[in-house]
């Protein structure tokens, strides 16, 4: 077992201790298929929570997206994102001749699963912001990959914006029914439907 594996186990243990990190598989079983999980984004902890809620054998092939400029700025951050989480780096500054989705496309071509937060940024509102179009383009290019909506509940209470120490409060990640891109579905319509699917798996809703 390498140091990165140990770090991964440690982080998952801490996430479990603080939040419980319970995964509720309501709409689909946890299976080793190629998937894109898309979820609401309220806190820095969101990724760790989804990752800890996944069964251990799925963690290795499920990758987060990380901003290249921030997450490679120090050796530790670089090691954490590349060795422990096997993150897909994207650049936030757009270069003209490059498609910003290219690293994601490469990862999906290699057969990996991804976790994305289509709001693009953390929202501190109750409801998620409108989704950005990346999810649509990926769904278009990879019709064989399952799109799984997920709702992360309670995490904003664990670590509100501006605080650094998390408070132990139980959180859940609920995974919903896989979504399909319909034939000739409009981009906006699909993104709204995806957002509704995320809101749909929120606990406490009938």
């Amino acid at each position: 077992m390498t140091r990165a594996d140990l770090m991964g186990l440690l982080l998952a243990f801490i996430a479990r201790l603080i939040t419980g990190a319970q995964g509720h598989w309501k709409g689909c079983p946890p299976k080793a298929e190629q998937r894109i999980y898309f979820a609401n984004h309220q806190s820095h902890l969101d990724w760790v929570l989804i990752w800890a809620a996944l069964p251990r054998e799925l963690r290795a092939c499920t990758r987060p997206i990380a901003a290249r400029d921030y997450w490679t700025s120090s050796p530790f951050k670089q090691w954490l994102t590349s060795a422990v989480f096997n993150a897909v780096y994207v650049s936030r500054t757009r270069v003209d001749d490059q498609d910003p989705l290219e690293p994601l496309v490469d990862a999906l071509k290699a057969g990996d699963s991804l976790v994305i937060f289509p709001e693009g940024t953390r929202s501190n509102k109750d409801e998620p912001k409108p989704f950005k179009s990346g999810l649509f383009h990926l769904a278009e290019q990879f019709p064989g990959v399952q799109l799984i909506p997920a709702w992360i509940d309670n995490v904003q209470r664990v670590m509100p914006k501006g605080e650094v120490v998390p408070v132990p409060i139980l959180c859940t990640v609920t995974f919903g029914v896989p979504l399909q891109l319909l034939p000739d579905e409009d981009k906006r319509a699909f993104l709204d439907r995806a957002r509704a699917a995320v809101l749909d798996v929120r606990p406490g809703r009938a």
Partner: protein, 325 residues
Amino acid sequence: MNFDLHALRNLSVNGQVALLFVILFGLLLLVSAGILVYTLNETSEKRRERNVQMLRDLRAVWIGAVVFWLAWMSGPVGATIAFGVFSFLALREFITLVRTRRGDHRSLLLAFFVALPLQYLLVGLRAFDLFTVFVPVYVFLAIPVVSALAGDPERFLERNAKIQWGITVCVYGLSHAPALLLLNLPGYDGRGAFLLFLLVMVTATAQIVQELASRKLRRRPMVRQIDRSFSFRAWALGVLAAALMGAALFWITPVDPLRAAALSALAGGCGNLGELVMRALKKDAGVRYWGNRSSVTGAVGLLDRVAPLCFAAPVFFHAVRWYFI
């Protein structure tokens, strides 16, 4: 009865403790075997559901017994840490269910990462005088100060009361269990495990008997809005059962049968009233169970199981100590 109690009393302390655990695990094995045979019958859906529930409870009892044994084996440090972890998990569950606001963040950090470890440190050091007043005096005053410094006046009293209450029940109450384990009474050195064992046995007995009695008696419920089965007569039967259990187990305590019965009745009665209070709290929070089935939090349902102990332990501890010192 041809059972020589004097021989038992003359055994060494470790011999007695070993005997206690042999009896405990022996009984558990018998009960488990019985339950396992019973659950082989899966004829109806209702039966199957009850089997699952039964096996889950059985597992919880086993975990409890093993933790109790490990706590005893590892001495003061192990016992303190084990109950500290229970306190942490119970408080985590409690705080999840009461709505807290952003302004409570620092108060919650104080509760989880300062008050809780310090309280258990005091237990481990056997500093029982400070241990008794640390939460009711110092933490009680510190929490609202931290809360006020966060600068959020909205529902200030209510939010603080909730946090205080959680700390008092989940940390202060439960910390009296390892305190019993570590209490050195004159002429009763090293036998604290018996007191804790007695406490757990009588609260469990009172709970089970009250549950059965309220099912059989079908009395008019006293507080229909909170608990549809709670009646005074069922509660009194629970207390009586606890007293009988305590009298039967008097040989493991430092007192005579009558006083053992009185102490046990007190603990059993408090535990069952504590359970009623937790029911009221659950109704207030809008959940039927703390556990997973409510799907509000995905909590593990620990609070449900330790609630009677949280209420019974401080009273029992105080009564024992008051009687002896």
